[in-house]
């Protein structure tokens, strides 16, 4: 008796137009997966956080952050801290997928590839924002500066989006190399320089109470960067994970 493999007989339901609902569903599933894993292990957030605090501590001694110095360098210190802590998070989040073979599983799942990218990116963004929301009040208390200004929050949000958009893409590239842990910051930092410059300048502007017209160009640059790199990541992510 001939046994015909059933799987090949059934028409595979894979219409190119799966609908926004389906996409959104797989997106939230991936984000939820990352959050659930993190809630159980807490290894990513805790290492990012401890590292961020250490960076601030080192800056304290290296720059002798007295009242006068603080007025000018606060934004710089904050953004360097976020960038360093961010690389740890990005590296870890992608290495986790690769080491345990989760990435292959994700790629085999019948979801849109871009849903994987956006899921990972939003997950990373959430981690980064969590770290930032903890660091900001800590910094405020330690140095007696009020960092809770709506403008600054906006800049941090825009800057983090740009950073994470490029960072997620590059970490998925770096994770495939032999020297992955070392490589990510080398690949990432020169690419996110525009974000760093713009974010530091705009943050300084808000902290020093500059006119909106002086801050505006930096905000525009941040938004343009975010849009461009999210669009490009969307286009090229397929090619990175292709086997």
């Amino acid at each position: 008796m001939e046994i015909i493999p059933q799987a090949e007989q059934q028409p595979i339901r894979r219409s190119p137009f799966q609908g926004a609902g389906r996409f959104f569903h797989s997106l939230t599933a991936i984000i939820w997966k990352d959050l659930a894993a993190e809630l159980r292990s807490r290894e990513l957030l805790s290492s990012m956080l401890v590292f961020a605090l250490l960076v601030i501590l080192i800056f304290n001694f290296a720059l002798e952050l007295d009242a006068q110095a603080r007025a000018t360098v606060t934004a710089g210190v904050l953004w360097v801290t976020f960038a360093f802590a961010g690389t740890i998070g990005l590296n870890r989040s992608m290495a986790m997928e690769k080491d345990r073979g989760c990435l292959d599983g994700l790629l085999l799942a019948p979801v849109d590839r871009s849903a994987i990218y956006f899921g990972k990116a939003i997950g990373n963004l959430i981690f980064m924002l969590v770290v930032e929301t903890i660091i900001l009040p800590v910094y405020s208390v330690l140095y007696g500066v009020n960092l809770f200004k709506p403008g600054l929050i906006l800049v941090i949000l825009l800057g983090s989006i740009g950073y994470v958009a490029v960072g997620t893409l590059l970490s998925s590239m770096a994770v495939q190399t032999r020297t992955r842990d070392v490589l990510l910051p080398i690949l990432l930092f020169p690419l996110v320089i525009p974000v760093m410059i713009a974010a530091v300048k705009a943050s300084t502007g808000y902290l020093q109470g500059m006119e909106l017209i002086d801050i505006r160009p930096w905000l525009n640059l941040l938004m343009v960067y975010d849009v461009i790199f999210i669009a490009i990541a969307f286009m090229v992510f397929d090619y990175i994970v292709e086997e």
């Binding site: 690949l187 020169p190 525009p194 713009a198 300048k201 490009i232 090619y239 990175i240």
Partner: protein, 232 residues
């Protein structure tokens, strides 16, 4: 291995002659700049080097896109060749700019935004080589290399824009310069001719080197395939 094409030999000779002519023009044809003196002569090749750098990075980005679309390894070889050449030329541009800065601004290096961004661009492409080194599988290396070439080329204008918003002291010879620029000058007709000629000559140098490098890249690919065949 194909023998060296005759056209390439001709291009070699033409490039050498043009290059000698360009050196002659820079030293003997172009008039001496009144304020800065001899050191201004570095300007012609400085800009030409930077031009070749940018040209190559653009070629690499375009061949990166083509590689992703077509999947032909030829484009990977072209992209790598272009970035390798441009990396060197851009470095020369930074060094020659530094020499000029010593004469004009009195310092080898300032953290002027444009200088800084040139250094960033150089580091960006240094990372490209490190990335390729870490990848062993040829297809994967080509794909990821192509993507990185595209990403970095797109970030270059953004880096430069973030500099334009900054106040810069780097003179802008072509187009309108910032008011605070130091060492700016107006080009006379002879200077302009020398300048344009240098740009054309360096484009020839780029094309010639690119051709040689692509031939070398093909050989390297053949060698790698042979090695894989022996190993398997």
């Amino acid at each position: 291995m194909q023998p060296k094409p005759r056209l390439l030999t001709i291009l070699d000779i033409v490039t050498i002659i043009l290059f000698i002519a360009a050196v002659g023009m820079v030293f003997f044809y172009a008039p001496m700049e009144a304020v800065m003196g001899q050191v201004q002569r570095v300007f012609y090749f400085h800009v030409a080097n930077a031009w070749v750098g940018m040209l190559g990075f653009m070629v690499a980005a375009i061949s990166g896109v083509t590689y992703l679309l077509k999947g032909d390894h030829k484009w990977d070889i072209i992209g790598l060749a272009a970035i390798e050449i441009s990396f060197v030329f851009f470095f020369i541009a930074i060094i020659s700019g530094s020499i000029w800065a010593r004469g004009s601004w009195g310092t080898w290096w300032t953290w002027d935004p444009r200088l800084t961004s040139a250094a960033i661009v150089e580091l960006l492409y240094a990372a490209y080589f490190l990335l390729r080194q870490g990848l062993e599988e040829p297809d994967q290396r080509a794909r990821i290399g192509a993507i990185y070439a595209i990403l970095s080329f797109i970030s270059v204008p953004l880096t430069f824009i973030s500099i334009r918003i900054f106040r810069t002291i780097h003179p802008v010879i072509i187009g309108s310069g910032a008011a605070g620029a130091e060492g700016s000058f107006d080009m006379s007709t002879k200077m302009l001719q020398t300048f344009i000629f240098s740009l054309i000559v360096f484009s020839f140098v780029f094309a010639d080197l690119l051709w040689h490098r692509i031939r070398l890249g093909r050989l390297a690919e053949m060698a790698e395939n042979l090695r894989l065949k022996v190993l398997s």
